[in-house]
Structure formats: C-alpha cells, structure tokens
C-alpha cells in the first residue's frame, strides 16, 4: 500500500515536471495552442530581416498582435500579422520594423494613421518602413559622404 502511494507521488511529480517543461517550451517558442481571437492582415517589407513567426506587433509599446507567418514574394518579405480583435487599423497605418535596443530582438511597430477608412480582415497594410540596414549606413558614413544632418525645418523635440 505504502509502495503504491510512493509510486503515485513520484508519478505525479513527474507529470507536473513534464507539464512545466511543455508550458516553458510553448512560451519560449511563442507558439499558441489555441488560436486567439483576432484577424489577419498582410504587409510587405523590402527588408524583413530579424522577423520570425511569433514576433511581436505593437502600438505605442503595447503588444496587439504577432507575426503569424512570412515568406518571400516578388523578392519582398510578405508577412502575415494576427491582430487582436477590437484593434482598428486605418488604411494609412505605417508598419515599421524596430529593434529593442541596439542589438535586441526585432518587432513590428504600427503607428495609427488619420484615414477614415480601416483595413479589413485579410487586408494589406500599405505603408511600410523596412528594417534599418545599419551596416549599409555605417558603410556610407565611413566612406565619408553621408550628408551632414540638418534639422532645419524639423519641429523641436
């Protein structure tokens, strides 16, 4: 009787351990077991480096979706975004690829626009800004011809 109880407890701990590992794997891999409530939109970037399935999509730093998949189409990165239900995107919303810190993980930032029209489920975010190619910019800077920044005309920060 005592032996059976001991085996039950060991088995229970083992099951809990396996459960924890599975949960951790799912969280780390950013996979979703069950589809969230949301709708899908598409966006094409000329440079989508650093994006992968599960990459965060944020507005004002708040996550409102994830990258659901990406592929190459017409030599551009075609990305599918799963956006939370209730988040309305105007047709002139701009999608840009940002980096957390200088060498951090990439994420997609959406900046809401002013259009009266909204992007329907399955629609396309037209306005994009690709990932900044720092190496190319530094290359030009080293060659010494990147025009001197001139903030004339820029509103004060």
């Amino acid at each position: 009787m005592k032996k059976a109880y001991l085996e039950f407890v060991v088995g229970l701990f083992l099951a809990i351990g396996i459960g924890c590992l599975a949960w951790l794997s799912i969280k780390l891999a950013r996979k979703e077991f069950f589809a969230r409530n949301g709708y899908e939109v598409q966006v094409a970037f000329s440079n989508g480096s650093g994006l992968h399935r599960g990459t965060s999509v944020v507005i004002a730093g708040v996550e409102i979706g994830r990258v659901a998949g990406l592929g190459l189409e017409d030599y551009e990165a075609k990305v599918r975004l799963m956006i939370q239900q209730g988040v309305v995107l105007q047709t002139d919303t701009i999608a840009s690829i940002k980096t957390q810190g200088l060498i951090g993980e990439k994420y997609i930032e959406l900046t809401p626009g002013a259009s009266d029209k909204t992007i329907k489920p399955g629609g396309v975010i037209r306005e994009t800004q690709p990932a900044m190619d720092l190496e190319a910019l530094i290359g030009k800077y080293i060659q010494g011809n990147l025009a001197k920044p001139d903030d004339k005309g820029q509103p004060p920060r």
């Binding site: 002013a114 396309v124 306005e127 800004q129 690709p130 001139d150």
Partner: protein
C-alpha cells in the same frame, strides 16, 4: 542623403498613367530650374524658388501628406485647423526641400529609376540617386492616383519615411504640449516672407 530630396517631385511630359514618368518629370523639371544660369542670380533667386514651389505643389499631394503626418490627432481638429495645418506643413516641407535642393544639387551625378509597383490607386516608385563621389542613395516615392494623375504623398530616403518621421515627432510633441504649441512651433520654423 539629403541630396536625395532633389529628386522629390512633377511635369509637362509626364504620362498620366505612369507613376515613374511623373516622378522623372518633376525631378528633371526641378533640376533644370536649379541648373538654369538665367535664374542663378541673386536678383532672381526668389523667382526661382517660386517656380520650384509651383512644381512641387503641382505634383505633391500636400493634403494627404499633412493628414497622414498628423496621424490620429487629425480627427480631433476642426476643419479650419486642418486647413491651416496643411498650409503650414506644406510650406515647412517646401522651404526645407528647396534649401536642400539649392545646397546639394551640385553633388548629384545621376538618378536611376529601378521600377514601380501599382496596387489599386496607390503606387511606389523606386529610384537610386548617385552622387559624384560614387555613393548611392535608395529613394522610394509613394504616390496616390488623383483623377488622371499620380501625386506624391510620401518619400522614403534610405528607407526612412518622411510621413513616418513627422508623425513620430508630432506624436511626441502633442503628448507633452497642446496643439496650439505645435502650430506655433511650425510657424516659427517657416522663414518670414515665404508665401
């Protein structure tokens, strides 16, 4: 990079249904005005600036660019405020563009057009601007169909969007200050005497 702005811009021989032709036309027209020796004199400087301004007005959709730059704050403004904002925004960008055209057009070697993409009433034209120092700058023009013509509403230089740049800045200012402060700042940035 700023030289890339030289290529922003309208035209006489533009074909109505070709975005690239229209971008090429405004670029050629503005470059021709800048290179015209008759207009290079101090006395005719304001005339030259006015001619460039007219070209830009003809081919740039200032209303769309200004509205999109103000982003989510646009809907909160009255009709009169929106009209005033479009006027201030266009004057600011024009003055900024023309200053840069005048400063950097001598460095330009060539402008190559790499292709266009049209989706419904929107188009993008990719170009490469090369300087005499053999450095290339990628530029992308975004256009919207307006009647028979295509009009530019955004320009991406080295992948950085003009509208996105201003939208971020306006957002930041309006998070801390009232709209009136933004308008006062814009007004202060526009040189006195410009139309």
């Amino acid at each position: 990079m700023l030289l890339a702005l030289v290529a922003a811009g309208a035209s006489l021989r533009a074909c109505a249904d070709e975005p690239t032709a229209q971008v090429r036309a405004i670029t050629d027209k503005v470059l021709a005005l800048l290179a015209d020796p008759a207009l290079k004199t101090e006395a005719r400087n304001s005339e030259r600036r006015q001619l460039i301004r007219e070209e830009l007005d003809r081919r740039i959709d200032w209303a769309t660019a200004a509205r999109s730059s103000l982003g989510r704050h646009w809907a909160k403004r009255t009709r009169a405020e929106q009209t005033e904002f479009v006027s201030l925004f266009s004057r600011l960008i024009e003055e900024n563009f023309i200053d840069k055209f005048e400063t950097h057009h001598g460095e330009l070697d060539k402008v190559e057009y790499l292709g266009e993409k049209i989706i419904d009433e929107y188009a993008s034209v990719k170009a490469r601007i090369s300087t005499k120092d053999q450095i290339d700058h990628p530029v992308e023009y975004r256009l919207q169909k307006s009647g028979k013509d295509w009009r530019i509403y955004d320009v991406l230089l080295e992948g950085v969007s003009l509208v996105k740049n201003y939208r971020d800045q306006f957002d930041e200012i309006l998070a801390k200050s009232p709209y009136e402060k933004l308008v006062a700042d814009l007004r202060a940035k526009i040189p006195q005497g410009s139309p």
